[in-house]
């Protein structure tokens, strides 16, 4: 059973719909005990990093910390990926899980002398796909996925793939059982479904 954490950050319908389509059993929850018992945990979320404050208030941050420490598979999507890092300049007072090093920052307004539009919206390619990534198994170098975000995570050792927009940022991150994607796999057609299927089949 996959616990899908509901912390009132955007809409869960699409993520749950895609997981069900792939045959996964899902349970949308805010209960730390459900998260502790789950074999897999998905943390979706679009919107503001501030919303992740609720995870701590509900005792979910601790539950996730314990779960991932004992090896539960974890997938963060969009803000859910950003939360795996130390924090975000979008909400400087709100700490992330700190599983990966570094802070999430806003896209620069200007990059290499040209104006850079923000948010970064649309289909962009996955580059430098790590061949040992279990999450990205079967995803071709240059495969397209759908993004919509204004903040981004830095490239770190655990980065499984980068995307270029105003420089390289982390498109996917993965270290052992803890994984995250900045893009929306549930909206990324065949490539996205492949990634979710990889997670479901872990």
């Amino acid at each position: 059973m996959i616990a899908v954490i509901d912390y009132k950050a955007g809409n869960l319908t699409s993520v749950v719909k895609a997981l069900k389509y792939l045959g996964a059993g899902t349970l949308v929850t805010q209960d730390p005990e459900v998260v502790r018992r789950a074999t897999k945990v998905v943390l979706p979320g679009v919107g503001h990093f501030q919303a992740t404050q609720l995870l701590t208030e509900l005792g979910l941050t601790e539950a996730v910390r314990e779960s991932v420490a004992k090896g539960t598979w974890f997938l963060g999507i969009c803000v859910g990926l950003q939360w795996l890092f130390e924090g975000s300049t979008e909400a400087p007072g709100v700490a992330g899980l700190g599983h990966f090093e570094g802070m999430c920052e806003r896209f620069p307004a200007v990059y290499e002398g040209a104006e850079l539009k923000s948010p970064h919206v649309g289909w962009n390619s996955l580059e430098r796909v790590r061949p040992d990534s279990r999450l990205l198994r079967g995803v071709a170098e240059g495969g397209f996925v759908y993004y919509t975000h204004s903040w981004r995570a830095p490239v770190v050792q655990a980065t499984a793939s980068v995307t270029e927009y105003g420089g390289a940022f982390t498109g996917a991150v993965e270290r052992e059982n803890v994984m995250g994607v900045q893009f929306h796999p549930e909206k990324s057609s065949a490539v996205g479904l492949q990634i979710l299927k990889n997670f479901v089949e872990l």
């Binding site: 289909w123 962009n124 927009y165 909206k187 057609s189 490539v191």
Partner: protein, 259 residues
Amino acid sequence: MLTKRIIACLDVRGGRVVKGVQFVDIVDAGDPAELAHRHAAGGADEIVLLDITATHEGRGTLIDTVQRTAATLFVPFTVGGGIRSAEDAAAVFNAGADKVSINSSAIARPELIGEIGGSFGAQAVIVAIDARRAAGAADPVGEAEVYVSGGRKATGLRVVEWAIEAEQRGAGEILLTSMDTDGMRNGFDCELTARVSAAVQIPVIASGGAGTAAHFAEVFGRGRADAALAASIFHFGVTDSRELKAELRRAGVSVRLPC
């Protein structure tokens, strides 16, 4: 590299996809769910469903149509028409939409943009602008006017100024439809699109007038559009996104080729 998006639009009336020319002369083009899937399979980057008569007739969006269409659609899905409150938007999101497009209701009450964005994120709010050039004015493009209620009512607002305000109020994207070019298949209004795109930071979706691949190439280049929307050229099998994108790529436009 971020690609230019091709968006297939389904104008829905009474649960059926229809297509008009310059907002009138409407003909039947099929079932929304079936067409949405055909477009997604054919390589469209996004699907937009507009309940075109919702505002005019003063009723809500067709939730069941949205639900049926969204059920197995795994590309971004936008719904517009008849969304007048954050509650209306929530119902559409719960039915499976990823974004809502608001038009008349945002003009009537601009706070609505921020209200929906506050709950669902700015990325989920598209402000749609129906625009007509100010014929006879010194600067017909700069003075282009915003229309509402499916193009039936002039507002007196200038398009560029309203786009800037919409962005400031938290819109995630602008969907700009030229009423002058809509349905004519003679090309997008590149001048107007470029003017709006330069004025805002958020992505601008050009709409109205798509007829050939060259029209898309023009609006992505000279028109500075981030995405382009079309309906009629797809519905009657004139072309599909796959064909269109292959041509665009040959023309040097960065697009996602579906696998």
